[in-house]
Symmetry: C2
Subunit: 295 residues, 2 copies
Amino acid sequence: MRLVTHAHPSGDRAAAVVASSDGDRLVDLDGLSLVEILQDETALAAARLRVEHAAGSPETLPRLSDTRLLPPVRPGKILCLGYNYRGHVAEGADPTADDPAFPDVFVKTPNVVNAPGDPVVLPVASTNVDYEGEIAVVIGRRAHRVPLVSALDYVAGYALFNDVSDRDWQGRSSQWELGKCFDGFGPLGPELITADEIPDPQDLLLEVERDGVVTVSQSTATMIFPMAFIVHYLSQVMTLEPGDIISTGTPQKLPQALNDHRPLGPGDAVTIRVAGLGELTTTFTAPTDTERTPA
Amino acid sequence: MRLVTHAHPSGDRAAAVVASSDGDRLVDLDGLSLVEILQDETALAAARLRVEHAAGSPETLPRLSDTRLLPPVRPGKILCLGYNYRGHVAEGADPTADDPAFPDVFVKTPNVVNAPGDPVVLPVASTNVDYEGEIAVVIGRRAHRVPLVSALDYVAGYALFNDVSDRDWQGRSSQWELGKCFDGFGPLGPELITADEIPDPQDLLLEVERDGVVTVSQSTATMIFPMAFIVHYLSQVMTLEPGDIISTGTPQKLPQALNDHRPLGPGDAVTIRVAGLGELTTTFTAPTDTERTPA
């Protein structure tokens, strides 16, 4: 299923998305939140039935394009991986030669989460903003010390995530968090795609486009720590809760994009695209005059 | 005021603590949560009136010792400082010589928060657990780009915090988070002391005792980045919300304690003590048999 959360006069609503001949439509899901549905087998089964039923005559349903999408979930924990895609190596070289022994994990705070259609307002204090196109794993069931073989059973689905980062703040001290935790530095969505739609999460092509130029293009097959391992590993340390997300790292930019890179400025746009997971486009805008007043 | 959150048959309750001739007593605060009270001037004033009134004849009130204390707040964000107390320097040397240019900030996830009287269960995966006795600033009002001069106006009060850390996991990668984010690795409390009770937060003696031996004893006067600066600085990056906490770092262990240090094991106890903020004692226990099953 394709699942979203959207703004509604009566409060945030979860919905499923079904295609119709003239654009996507919304199937309402009983006023439960997406996190409530994901962790409840009965609610999930009811949602599937409703989607099947609606798929027969979707034309009477509300249009997806008429609503404002919100982040599909509001994660209590946002765990992120540093270096987790192998770089390009010369022919014949061992691609695993530079693999670290353990994942490098950091945390983004909940204030970063940004609605998928909303711009990221460049903070007044920011000086060197960059993007990182990533696939986020969304936890569906509480996971505490889960075995590797069943780790993906705890994953409700996947969403796209832009790990927006201020490189100057990130480099001010040994820990990266302040460069990672500016308000809005985590566009998430637009949809949560349930895990059953993704036969092999380690066989997805992740592409990022900046201002119309492809800057990242690499398969999840080149991940150092696959998603199942990450869930297993993190669950040894912390209990993962429904709605928590783990963003699984970004591949390196392509050589030309690395060479041409300049910090994001007002008017720039970044699109993350993965077949089956849709695409997430984020525009970057200047701070308002109110924001510019001295602090 | 001395404020607590405690377990009650009808749900978590906020209360103020008043001294009586035979021990501390609880003054109930209308069923609001502590975070609701802290950000509402009227509720805060009403609480103060109630405490004044109760102080006249506290003997009829419920005893603090009869209830189970919970963490005073459930922070959405737990921001922590690395190295933030100056070390001991030779006579005549400049104590600021090793000051970093910027605070080193990392994040603990909400699963770490532990009730002040509860033991920390040593995780099965942990191998080298240490304590860090700290003073946590509790945010009372939403803080976004607040000036340095008024930064403490956004602080509701102070609590004690043990930044429990697994040194092996902390050292596995460049980012410390996994060593910091085990379930329960953040005992908080026992009380939130409102800011008006603390005339100068940069003049507090922080002491830590491990198994009866004082291992840390240093004044907040030796902080590199004072609390007002930290609130100001962080608010340039992220909007701080009522109930968020900023743990302001730990002083280095005394030379003998550094020398004698061994990882915490079952039965060990750590007490953090600051005059005016009370004391927080945490015992460490072995994992249960259920926890020991392979994962």
